[in-house]
Amino acid sequence: MSASAATRRHVLPGFGVSLGVTLAWLGLIVLVPLAALAIRPWELGVAGVIRTLAEPRVLAALRLSFGAALLATAIAAPLGLLMAWVITRYHFPGRRVLDALVDLPFALPTAVAGLALTALFAPNGWLGVPLAAIGVQVAYTPVGVVVALVFVALPFLVRTVEPVLRDLSPEAEEAAATLGATRPQTIRRVVLPTLWPALLTGFGLGFARAVGEYGSVIFIAGNVPMVSEIAPLLIVTKLEQFDYPAASAIGLAMLLMALLILFGLNLWQRALRRGRA
């Protein structure tokens, strides 16, 4: 294999150019700027960074960002599974429209989504009025943050589960049915376990997007410090006060926490795949 790999490497031209362009593109746009983020907070000293992050307002913002993102992705997971199931398994008029609309949060600019959700859930909005009647306020509360993040995370869940569901062979399900399993049993014991890795991937993608989300959230959140202020907004506030070290400390903490959670999900997923193999 290594011999064929070695000869292959020389068969096609363009290795040096393409790798060079790739590394320059990646280095200049992504790696060097991220290095600046990794360096900047430490001019405060380790104690200073800890003090910045331990400020009640910062802690509250981080808690809201991560808590709301995890909750929203957890809500989006079953909803996304249902959507993927309906799109791949059933034929009904309007299925293609439904399929296309799932991508709407990908294609709709975040500020537009934010404005739209605010208009919808505001006390005088189409959904705000009936919700107010039953005593639920969504706009300008942490609930609004979660609603916006469900909107953002949903397509990631649908689009990662969908291909697996489509490729699932009917034989396993048929075998289970032949052996006397009821339909719900088959779904729980046969279908769901094969979907877990894809669900985790989708959860990771949706969470990564939700936790850093800014545009869809700030309009509906109300942005009350300690209550409905998300961490990215606090970074913007610190920047506006020219407090670069504090802004970068919060940014670095957010990024590292998010990457740690994604890494954990990745390990979990690998363990699942190994367990099934």
């Binding site: 790999a5 292959r8 490497r9 096609l12 363009g14 290795f15 393409s18 790798l19 362009v21 790739t22 593109w25 746009i29 992504v30 700027p33 600046a36 249902l82 959507m83 309906v86 059933y90 296309a100 609309l101 799932v102 709407l104 294609a107 709709l108 600019p109 975040t110 500020a111 537009v112 989504a113 404005l115 739209a116 959700l117 208009a119 919808l120 189409w126 949903l154 009917p170 399900e173 049915a177 032949t178 339909r183 088959t186 993608l205 990564a208 936790v211 850093g212 800014y214 545009g215 990215p232 907004l233 970074i235 913007v236 670069y244 802004a247 970068s248 940014g251 957010m254 990024l255 998010a258």
Partner: protein, 278 residues
């Protein structure tokens, strides 16, 4: 299609479809409808007036300009990355893919922040830039850089899995027959990936034109100069010019809808092409 044994009970099926439709209408379709309804609340005239306003038009021009620079940069980078990763064996390929996808896990606000840390007044290169009278933050270069960062993975991400699947046989055959690198790419690889490439470029463009968080950090919000369309929407909204805000937002929503339609069309074309091949 499949046996009756694994067909879901009729009641379950209709319940699932109904729930999915209600969900789609409530959390996807209604927000979209709300944008247009708010824009047209007082009829067409105020909405059109808001869009044809001088500052709005300047924002449209700036948004188009930023996308016209950012999208080609990521298209060229994405093609180069996909070519290097899928056509050659070298150590660190998986790491390279992870790094290329990294910007998707970075908050847009942080994507803007990193450039402020580099090029801002108190940034690492700030003093040097000021000495040489070069402005990056609160100017076009900053907007472009932040936009390139957030849309970085789109093209590479759509190309890599497809090119991996297609292998290298066709390209190697062309190389054996004496074709040069550029000819191989243009005549062999490109026809095989063109629909995926277009779809990646389309999504990249939609995000580039609609990006808000990253450009909000580097823009400085100077009307008529560094205000892109999404930023203009925010300014109008904060000034309680709701019709104007929603009118410009409608324009952006239309961009999103056109992108969705074009993407669906490309997917249909790609499917038909695969059907022809089979």
């Amino acid at each position: 299609m499949s046996g009756a044994a694994i067909a879901d009970p009729r009641s379950l099926r209709w319940l699932a479809i109904a729930t999915a439709v209600v969900l789609t209408v409530a959390i996807l379709l209604l927000p979209l409808a709300a944008v247009f309804a708010e824009a047209l609340r007082r009829g067409w005239e105020p909405a059109l007036e808001a869009i044809l306003d001088e500052d709005s038009l300047a924002a449209v021009r700036l948004t188009l300009l930023v996308a016209a620079i950012a999208v080609p940069v990521n298209t060229i980078g994405g093609i180069a990355g996909a070519w290097a990763i899928t056509k050659f064996d070298f150590p660190g390929r998986r790491l390279l893919i992870t790094l290329i996808e990294l910007p998707f896990s970075v908050s847009p606000v942080i994507s803007g922040l990193v450039y402020v840390l580099l090029f801002g007044a108190q940034g690492f290169l700030g003093p040097w830039l000021r000495e040489h009278d070069i402005q990056i933050i609160f100017a076009l270069p900053g907007l472009v850089l932040a936009t390139v960062f957030v849309t970085f993975p789109f093209v590479a991400r759509t190309l890599i899995p497809l090119m991996q699947e297609q292998g290298r046989d066709e390209e190697e055959a062309a190389a054996t027959l004496g074709a040069g690198g550029w000819d191989i790419f243009r005549r062999v690889t490109l026809p095989n990936v063109k629909w995926a490439l277009l779809s990646g470029v389309l999504l990249c463009n939609a995000r580039a034109m609609g990006e808000f968080g990253a450009v909000a950090v580097v823009s400085g919000h100077i009307r008529g100069q560094t205000n892109t369309m999404p930023l203009h929407v925010e300014i109008l909204y904060n000034e309680y010019m709701f019709v104007g805000a929603f009118a410009v937002a409608s324009l952006l929503a239309l961009l999103g809808l056109v992108t969705l339609g074009a993407k669906a069309l490309l997917e249909a074309l790609a499917r038909r092409r695969m059907g022809d091949a089979a």
